[in-house]
Structures are given as structure tokens and as C-alpha cells.
Amino acid sequence: MQTDDACYLDHGVSGYGVAVKLHHDRPAEPQEVGDLLREMMDAIARDCVERGAKFIGHIKSHLMCAQGSLKADTIGISHPAALHGELSGPSNDLYVAINSIVQGITEVQVKEATLGSAHRLAEERGFRVVLEKEHLYFDEYDFASDEDYLQQLEAQFESGAEE
């Protein structure tokens, strides 16, 4: 029942997943964040097609920040990306997971389209990519701000000093 031959490879389907943390020096408004995510999905789909993809299976994303979460996805360049969810206020730091599954191009090409479009769209809107994890989702350490991290270090130091 377990095999190295993935069923989807027979159909020329390739998938690539990445998690990115984006930072903006000023808090980005909810509308701005939603537009960024939706346009990112459309841009990845277009880029995949320009690289020779025959069929956009599903390009999807999940964004988390302190003000809530959003989900955006698209199933092709003739279908504009859909956006769901809402944020309660502006945010500086965004944690975005993206999964791109398309047919007709290699995984390397899917990766280039996904990362290239994500970086370009983010940077055009004043965000910096401060963390990128290929094939892995964020863990608790990614969510810690420098301040939180320093506080944890201070607490460790203080508790060590008492011993």
C-alpha cells in the first residue's frame, strides 16, 4: 500500500509549499493585506501559466497575524482569486503559508513561480520577507518577536542566576 510512485506524477502534477513571514515597517491595513494575498494568488497562477503550466489545479494560502486570519485561493487565471476571513486591525507581521499545485511544469518551476511572485508582490507593497521555510509550516519559535525572545532569555538568565 505504500509506494514511492505518487499517483499525481503520472498526471504531470507538481506541488510546492512554502511558509513566509512578512514584515512592514508601518502597520498594514486589513484591506491592504487582503489585496496583497489575493493578488499574490493571481500572480503565482499567471507566472505558472507563463512558464508553461497547462492547468492550474489549486493555488492556496493561509495568512495569520495578531489581528486574525485570511484564506485566499485560485483555480486558474480565468477565475479571480477568492478571499475569505477578516482582520480586526492593521498589522506589521504576517505569517503566510502558500501551497501551489499545477500541471504541466516541474516542481522547480512551480517553486520559482511561487517564490518569485510572493517576493515581488510583497516587496512592491513595502513588505520585507524576513523568514522563509520551504516545505515546513511555522513553529512556535517563528512567532516569537525579538522582544519576546529576549524576555525568555532574560527569564532563563535570572532563573539560572538564582540557582
Partner: protein, 215 residues
């Protein structure tokens, strides 16, 4: 423990439908429900969306549960039974998985848990039937998925007109005339009561189930 697959091609609306169904089965019908989600691409976007619903979710990564990680899926079902003992497990395979193979893998889980194989629901996206059934593109895979369906849920009916829905239904019926067809919308809720009725037929919350073979 009844295993119900919500299968269907990429982007057909599986995650959204599964969340609507799982809430209704748990909150309205009183079933203990667990979700198993599998994605290629290795980032569990759907799993994260599901976790926000507060449901018990198991993510399976590292490949497709119909082939590459089939035995991991079977073991996951056994583990779910031991840890959580759900009445119903809703399984969302990857959008390229073959439901029949997922069913066989689920049956392997009966070695360690009392498993009943429930209906296989295959979603068919009403917004792009021609594209999906194009044999130059993904038609072979999509027809194989449809052929494994007990119920074909023609999805996204809130965004198509009556003519487009009729065309999508006709196209899917040509592939598998013997299935039950239910037009559904996870946005408006159309068709969901009927679908939930079918999925929970003869099931009672908290009941123990007998081991059955996938065949």
C-alpha cells in the same frame, strides 16, 4: 467509526464543504467527529484552516494517502480511534487522489479499529466542467475520481446559472450514471441537509461499529 471521504479534484471546494458538514454533524446531530486532511505540496494550508474551526484534525503530509503514504493513513485511523474514538472521521484526500485507493487504505485501518467504510463523496466543480473533463488536461484523473463516487456533490452552485448547473450535472452523469447527484453550495448551504442526511444514515452518536471490508 465511520470513515467518510470528501474527495474531488483540486479546487473543487472540499475543505469548505468539509468544515460545514463537520460542524453540522457535531453540533446539530451530536456526533463525535474527527477530520483527516492530506495535501501534496507539503504545507498543510487546509489543515490550518480546519484547526481554526476547533475540530479534531490530523494532518498527513509527505505524500498522497492513496499511494505514497497509504499505510500512514491506515495507522492514523487506528491512532485516532485509540486517542479520540470518534463516531465519524471525515477524510479529505489530496485533490489528485483516487477515492477507491483511499478506501482500501482506510480498510487497512480496521486491523486496529472498528471501521465502517461510509459513502464516498466526490465533488465536481460546476464552474469548470469542460476544463475538468478535458482529456488533454486532467480528464482522465477526474473521470477516475468520479467513477469511484457513491455521491457526486456538484459544488459551487451558488455561482453558476441553471443552464451551467444542468451542463455540469449532465457531464458528471455521463461518467457515472449510477451515483446519487446532489448540487451543493457551501456558501448558501444548498443541498447540505440532504448530503448530511445521506452521510449519517443509520449512524447513531456513540455507537460501536463493526469491522467491514472495503470491497
Amino acid at each position: 467509526m465511520r470513515i467518510i471521504q470528501i474527495a474531488g479534484f483540486l479546487g473543487s471546494g472540499k475543505t469548505t464543504l468539509l468544515l460545514r458538514i463537520s460542524r453540522s454533524l457535531a453540533e446539530d446531530k451530536g456526533f463525535k467527529v474527527a477530520l483527516v486532511v492530506n495535501e501534496i505540496g507539503e504545507i498543510p494550508v487546509d489543515g490550518k484552516v480546519m484547526e481554526e474551526s476547533g475540530m479534531k484534525v490530523k494532518d498527513i503530509g509527505g505524500g498522497c494517502i492513496c499511494c505514497e503514504v497509504a499505510s500512514t493513513f491506515a495507522k492514523t485511523l487506528t491512532q485516532l480511534y485509540r486517542d479520540f474514538s470518534p463516531d465519524i472521521v471525515l477524510v479529505e484526500p489530496t485533490g489528485v487522489a483516487l477515492p477507491r485507493q483511499v478506501k482500501l487504505a482506510a480498510a487497512m485501518g480496521s486491523r486496529g479499529a472498528p471501521i465502517e467504510i461510509g459513502p464516498v463523496v466526490v465533488l465536481f466543480d460546476a464552474t469548470r466542467p469542460d476544463e475538468l473533463l478535458d482529456m488533454e488536461l486532467m480528464g482522465l484523473l477526474v473521470t477516475s475520481q468520479l467513477a469511484d463516487a457513491d455521491i457526486v456533490a456538484v459544488s459551487k452552485v451558488d455561482v453558476v446559472d441553471a443552464a451551467a448547473l444542468a451542463a455540469a450535472l449532465a457531464a458528471a452523469k455521463e461518467v457515472i450514471p449510477g451515483a446519487e447527484f446532489i448540487p451543493v453550495s457551501s456558501v448558501t448551504g444548498e443541498g447540505l441537509d440532504l448530503l448530511i442526511e445521506r452521510l449519517s444514515a443509520d449512524a447513531a452518536p456513540g455507537s460501536e461499529r463493526e469491522v467491514v471490508d472495503a470491497d
